[in-house]
């Protein structure tokens, strides 16, 4: 029974992280109307930036390295938009997605070039956690949950209560109209990338804290982020949270019954299941 | 030919079409007018199956077609054009036309291997007919051009020609003369009248009252999703309800 509760806790933990991934993905989708196939690499590089700053020659402790790491992630996100997506703003969808896929491949191999394909970790010892109600929870994991909650609340406030949030929503509704009316779409878009990058970076770091780093981690987390987005409704911030938690729980409870080698496939399976049951929200026509 | 009974469709809280009932007879050009947002295109979309109705029934030649998918509706013999022309950009004018006929043997994968002669003969016949229609709409000199290279007016003619090529029983035209210069409008009207002679039924959404008056035998008027009037064009023109709808309150 304790085992079950432990799995549930782990599931919620993973779910919070996936929620961050999904929120970043859905944010870009909402503002620029395409699925950023390189979002997984933004996540991955966020984790690696921290690794880089914590290692030689910087050797910074985690709390200090965090800010510059996120800053670099933001630069990467803005760079992605500036050099790849902006030139393709008016291109047809296939062209844009192929470029995004190419970008993802470029970034993935860039990380492998710099750090190799081996698994890496941040090097923290596995500390004994607190035991509450028969389940064990480490300080790391508490940090993960708290950080996720903070991020989620922050994004909600930003999106729904601030002027910038309003302009982002206007841009997502109708880019042309927003421009005509004078809403600064350029800034709104840039700001969306900043937020998405922070969410991706934080999520990546938390994931790497909880598990490990490797250059290929982007792809499978993109799929999970997308599955969570789909579950919660594309463009819906709270939905992203819900979707993330569902996937996290499904994964951790699922491995109690199926082979752990397929843990990462559970998100995909949920996605296919949803498609078979076919909520009509997903059946959009190609533009 | 077309019977609509009690058709309703809402989006969110907005009643795009409310309890609409109307009927189209054979050998008739019928017009559909109304202020912007009155539900005309939605009605077309309901007929062609792009969106399913919330309530009501649609009958075509006695067969029930509401809720059918668009391709099935088209296969019944109802072809439409769009407000913003939908031609196939990176395909030639001729190819655009050749796509129109329904139930082409060559479109069935299996037939490519076992019915080669029949396909060849069909293609030849289609090609001849297509070239004839291209001539009729006056685009012969552009037949091998990518459709995206045509001007707006030429694209409208292409879409019209393509609709004729499909040899439908009923054609729905969504604002066929929008954004067109007057001489082209005349040309399009002549084409429509010519097609009417060969027995085709037209249902036309238009804002240009001149076109409606000249072409249509009967007109329906929508406002806020409801049918508020119907009759001969001259009567409609002077109907106070119609005038009020257009002036708006």
């Amino acid at each position: 029974m304790d085992f079950l509760f432990q799995s549930i806790l782990n599931g919620i933990l993973a779910g919070c992280i996936y929620a961050l991934f999904a929120m970043g993905l859905t944010l870009i989708y909402g503002v620029l109307n395409f699925v950023n196939f390189a979002h997984g690499e933004l996540i991955m590089w966020g984790a690696y930036f921290l690794y880089f700053l914590m290692g030689k020659p910087f050797g910074l402790p985690l709390p200090i390295a965090l800010i510059p790491a996120l800053f670099l992630t933001i630069l990467l996100g803005i760079g992605m938009d500036r050099f790849v997506f902006k030139p393709l703003r008016t291109a047809n969808r296939l062209t844009l997605l192929i470029a995004a896929l190419g970008l993802s491949f470029l970034l993935r191999n860039g990380a492998q070039f710099l750090w190799g394909a081996e698994l890496r970790t941040y090097g923290f010892e596995i500390k004994r956690g607190l035991r509450i109600l028969g389940i064990s929870i480490t300080l790391n994991q508490v940090a993960i949950i708290l950080t996720s909650i903070v991020c989620i609340v922050f994004v909600y406030l930003l999106f729904h209560r601030s002027r910038l949030g309003k302009s982002m929503r206007a841009v997502s509704d109708n880019l042309e109209l927003a421009r005509v009316v004078g809403i600064d779409s350029k800034h709104a878009i840039q700001f969306a990338w900043v937020i998405a990058s922070v969410l991706a970076g934080v999520g990546g770091i938390l994931l790497a804290l909880d598990t490990n780093l490797q250059p290929g981690m982007g792809l499978i987390n993109l799929v999970k982020a997308f599955a969570a987005t789909l579950l919660g409704g594309v463009g819906n911030i709270w939905g992203a949270l819900l979707g993330g938690i569902v996937i996290g729980l499904a994964e951790n409870l699922g491995v109690l019954v199926i082979s752990p080698g397929y843990k990462d496939a559970i998100a995909f399976g949920i996605m296919v299941l949803m498609l078979l049951i076919r909520p009509s929200a997903l059946l959009g026509r190609q533009e | 030919m077309l019977e609509i009974k009690g058709l309703s469709k809402s989006f969110g809280g907005i009643h795009a079409v409310s309890n609409c009932s109307l009927g189209l007879k054979d050998y008739v050009i019928t017009g559909l007018i109304g202020p912007n947002g009155s539900g005309k295109t939605t009605l077309f979309n309901l007929i062609t199956g792009s969106i399913p109705p919330d309530k009501g029934e649609i009958y075509f030649k006695g067969n029930r077609i509401d809720g059918h998918l668009p391709y099935k509706v088209a296969q019944h013999g109802i072809i439409r054009t769009f407000q913003l022309t939908r031609i196939f950009p990176k395909m030639t004018v001729l190819e655009n036309m050749l796509l129109a006929p329904l139930h082409q043997t060559g479109e069935i994968l299996w037939s490519l291997w076992v019915k080669r002669r029949r396909i060849r003969d069909e293609e030849k016949a289609y090609r001849e007919r297509a070239l004839g229609l291209i001539e009729t709409v006056g685009l012969s000199h552009l037949k091998d051009q990518f459709a995206e290279n045509l001007s707006y007016g030429q694209q409208k003619l292409l879409e019209l020609g393509r609709a004729f090529m499909a040899d439908p029983k009923m054609i729905l035209l969504d604002e066929p003369t929008a954004g067109i210069n007057p001489s082209l409008i005349r040309k399009i009207m002549k084409l429509i009248l010519k097609m009417k002679e060969s027995g085709k039924v037209f249902f036309i959404i238009e804002h240009n009252m001149g076109v409606i008056i000249e072409l249509c035998d009967w007109v329906f008027v929508l406002d806020n999703g409801e049918k508020i009037a119907e009759g001969k064009p001259k009567e409609i023109q002077n109907d106070p309800r119609v005038i009020e709808a257009y002036l708006g309150v």
């Binding site: 393709l88 959009g284 | 994968l109």
Partner: protein, 296 residues
């Protein structure tokens, strides 16, 4: 000479692989980013069967059927989706299939791979030596090219292109867009399986690591570089890229360099895709049709 023949075989196998993707992406406008899955299914199916002494003719047939079947199964739930979503689903599928190859050790021997795949014996003729194998692949490539050409130049192919251009308009003309897409996807998957089969029997050893995103990126690059939606585009693209890829392999470089060379080469592929999409999305060979503006 052997190097030259090897190059030819690889290029030809990838021509088949690329032609199959070109049908889906170039002609029908499907965003298939998991094409490697069917390549792998074809390879593993044929390998497993022939290793069990099943005659090659039958193995090949079953391998193609499996590839086509999985194409069908994947497309049913996902082909109604809009482009982006379909792209992610296929991307995920590619990863999942790789996981299956990796995890189902009882079937595929997992990471240890399948060694000793026998050379094909077709109609009592054994294609064992390099020149013989070249002949085999050439034959299949020519067959593929002809079959696809018939399909693409037919009214069926015309509908596929129309769907690519404007599926709403195609549907409004009475074409069952969903069915056409499925047929296109299944055919594409089938020929991808053929390419995979030929590849497996050529290298005689396959493992899950051979069927990753890299293969998808490579074949996608071939299709878009050569010119998607053209008949000869995949051929040209395969020549250029496989030549580049294989020649690097044969440069006698120090072992320490390979750790950096592989990701670097792949970075180039990724970068090339980006640059291509921004500056010349049509690729090298453009689709036919007068380019000038007609005006009025």
């Amino acid at each position: 000479m052997d190097l030259f023949l090897h190059l030819c075989v690889m290029i030809i196998i990838y021509i088949i692989f690329a032609m199959s993707l070109n049908l889906e992406v170039g002609y029908t406008g499907l965003f298939n980013f998991g094409h490697v899955a069917f390549f792998g299914i074809g390879a593993y199916t044929s390998a497993l069967l022939t290793l069990q002494q099943v005659p090659f003719e039958l193995s090949l047939f079953i391998a193609l059927a499996m590839a086509g079947l999985w194409g069908f199964l994947l497309s049913i739930p996902s082909l109604r989706l809009r482009g982006d979503y379909f792209g992610i689903v296929t991307l995920g599928f590619g990863e999942i299939i790789r996981m299956v190859f990796q995890n189902e050790v009882w079937l595929t021997r997992g990471p240890m791979g399948l060694p000793g795949i026998p050379k094909p014996i077709l109609f009592s003729y054994r294609f064992a030596t390099l020149p013989q194998y070249l002949l085999l692949t050439l034959g299949f490539a020519a067959l593929t090219f002809l079959i696809l050409r018939i399909i693409l130049r037919s009214p069926f192919g015309r509908v596929l292109r129309a769907i690519r251009e404007d599926e709403v308009a195609a549907e409004a003309l009475g074409k069952n867009v969903f069915f056409f897409r499925i047929k296109s996807f299944v055919i594409g998957s089938l020929f991808a399986g053929l390419a995979g089969t030929l590849w497996g029997h050529y290298t005689t050893f396959i493992s899950p690591g051979d069927f990753t995103l890299l293969e998808t990126i490579l074949v996608l690059l071939i299709v878009v570089l050569g010119g998607k939606g053209t008949e000869w585009g995949p051929v040209l693209g395969a020549f250029v890229l496989i030549f580049f890829q294989e020649s690097l392999r044969f440069l006698r470089l120090p072992a320490e360099w390979t750790r950096y060379l592989a990701p670097l080469q792949q970075m180039i592929f990724g970068g090339l895709l980006i640059v291509l999409m921004i500056f010349r999305p049509e690729g090298l060979l453009k689709e036919k049709g007068r380019g000038s503006n007609a005006g009025n």
